[in-house]
Symmetry: C2
Subunit: 402 residues, 2 copies
């Protein structure tokens, strides 16, 4: 019994965490509930609408539409809603057309009608399904699916009741009402803008790199002995800033999804000349930089130690580069977040460039007689990577400036 | 006119390419068309079924179900189909129950019924929508959506016609028939198994790393002068094996999606004790290794040259490591692909271990008096990374053996 209690408690805590991680999720749930309830009240209990839809239960299509298109972010909801409305109308018109052709050409010949309608349903289904694989049509993927759906439903049900054109019209109306309710609720109550989320994600990723570089300085070039335990005796695993950048390495697909969805949010489109491609570019450059940082990180794991005397020679310039690039990245992050022009980024980058030049000269001058190559290569490689990180960050800065 | 022709031609070529890249896409289109046509013929023109569904047009729910659940791979289709059937039945039963409560407790009181039903619809919608964010429920995401959909539709339409329980029963039957047709067509005609695709992806990724290492050997340690042009005068950009590994860096999300979908494919489940987690693990290790290779690759870009005399000292062991690890990876790739035990992988790994030991000794012995640190660091770092790659590949091999 105790263990069951324990289990229930743990599950409850997990669920609570889902809400705490992003309270907008709870709001989203309430919004969906509200939209469905609104639609059902409107369509079933309020005067002009319930007459329109009561017959043949066409009103349930509004509820179905809301559940299917109501997504977490405004971009996704708008994309699906617009796709749904356009595809439904188009497909229904076409379906009615096909019905007329089939009906006229094969009057009173049931088998003939079945063949004609079957042929059109098959070809439309096959062609549209194939079209969903074309990359250029990705934003209209949902529309294509709805097109197949509506077209086959309309053509097939045309074989049904007499007043099927009224039924189709009512259903389209119902779907449009559902879409509009979903979109209005989604935008008006605590909207979640994909554009904003993307911006925050990119900013956070840049910041994580900055955190790493600033943390790296303290961890790698501290005074005492080498690893695996760091200066203050803590294991490295306990330093979150050294792990944070890992998520940047694999964030490509979520960035691209967000950028695609953000295109539907015209609020941003008109305001800032849709810089989505720019965001994706900054994200890609950030990832390039993260790979270099992964290389830096791998030098934490080398089990052999460089003599302190050697490390101390290059330490000054290396820490300089780390802290200047770290500062530059952090400022870039806040610039992306607040959409302002960064002010002192260039100063930091210039300083880190100077430091990297000095470091190069230093490396040229060090006399190697007394050293073991295997011992000194890791810190020397770290120095070279740091030199290499500087132009990388300059690229990010240039992309952000644009 | 010429430019229009040109445009049409280019679009046509792009569409053709989508089909050529993966001919299964064309087959998939045909399969969807077939399933819809089958369902419409069955439900509208063939005897026992059309009686069941003709009334109230419940048959269109079968077509809707097919379009919504028919996915490219068996895993995705099965997952959606099972989710849909289970969620629909459950939600419909619950909806009918709620209808009875509302009807009995508020007999002849329309406003009261509206409040009771509205309350249940709102809470169910809100709670289920929130539950979709819980990671553990991800495989049932589609089911939760359908649950909301069916539950609200049933509760709301219960206010409609008298025979609404028959309507609900017919619809559930219709949805089950649609699901079964979709699943049967998906599995019986040229099925696309997610498990197979995942296996191939992992194998291909391992192979790409092997290609890189074998190619790297020839490019980095050739006899003549250094870069940017390689031995045979071609630019490095034209060497596909040096770029191939890039896609491994960002393949995490597609691997995870596939592994999740593959869980629905019991063909694999019973056959091989569902090693999906193992695949994801091998994939993650492969990516770890790819990051190291990204670090290796960055040394192509160093503009300063190591003296040939220095490089030639470490060249022998480095090329040995490259070719042995490359061979090991290629064999691992084919082992993953064909599900056989690799035979000579361990020999290659042992050989590369020996080479890496020798290389370590060599690095310890090299006298550094005449060298410039900045010049010799890149090849020395390459050597260290290669030494570091060996245990990485051993890990992959161990994971594959499991």
């Amino acid at each position: 019994r105790q263990s069951l209690d324990n289990k229930v408690y743990r599950v409850a805590r997990k669920i609570k965490k889902v809400g705490q991680d992003d309270p907008r999720r709870i709001v989203h749930g309430l919004k969906v509930g509200l939209a469905i309830t609104l639609a059902s009240l409107l369509l079933f209990y309020i005067e002009p609408f319930n007459k329109l839809f009561h017959q043949g239960q066409n009103g349930i299509w509004a509820i179905m539409t809301i559940v299917l298109i109501f997504e977490f972010s405004v971009g996704a909801t708008l994309g699906k809603g617009l796709n749904r409305m356009a595809a439904t109308s188009l497909a229904a018109a076409l379906g009615v057309g096909i019905h007329n052709i089939a009906f006229r050409s094969t009057r009173n010949n049931n088998a003939g009608q079945a063949v004609v309608i079957g042929f059109f349903v098959f070809t439309t289904g096959a062609i549209c399904t194939f079209m969903r694989f074309i990359p250029a049509l990705k934003p209209y993927d949902y529309g294509l699916m709805i097109f197949i759906l509506t077209f086959s439903m309309v053509s097939v049900s045309s074989y049904g009741p007499e007043d099927f054109e009224t039924v189709v019209r009512d259903r389209i109306l119902s779907i449009i009402i559902g879409s509009v309710i979903a979109i209005v609720v989604c935008i008006c109550i605590c909207p979640v803008w994909n554009g904003e989320d993307l911006q925050n994600l990119i900013a956070k990723n840049i910041e994580k790199l900055g955190n790493f570089l600033e943390g790296f300085k303290g961890e790698y070039f501290h005074k005492g002995e080498y690893f695996p335990n760091s200066e203050d005796g803590q294991s490295l695993d306990n330093k979150p800033f050294l792990k944070g950048y890992k998520s940047v390495l694999t964030s490509k697909s979520s960035e691209e999804t967000m950028a695609n969805l953000a295109r539907w949010e015209w609020q941003y489109r008109f305001g800032f000349k849709h810089p989505w491609k720019q965001y994706v570019k900054v994200g890609a450059l950030t990832r390039e930089c993260a790979y270099k940082i992964e290389a830096l990180n791998s030098y934490f794991n080398f089990e052999f130690q460089a003599p302190y005397e050697f490390r101390s020679k290059i330490q000054g310039q290396c820490t300089q580069i780390c802290s200047e690039t770290g500062k530059a990245l952090k400022e870039l992050a806040s610039a992306v977040k607040t959409m302002t022009k960064p002010t002192s980024v260039n100063i930091h980058i210039e300083k880190s460039k100077v430091a990297s030049l000095k470091l190069k000269l230093l490396l040229d001058m060090i006399l190697l007689e007394d050293y073991n190559l295997r011992e000194i290569t890791p810190p020397a490689a770290v120095a070279l990577i740091l030199i290499d990180v500087v132009p990388c960050i300059e690229k990010i800065a240039n992309a952000v400036h644009e």
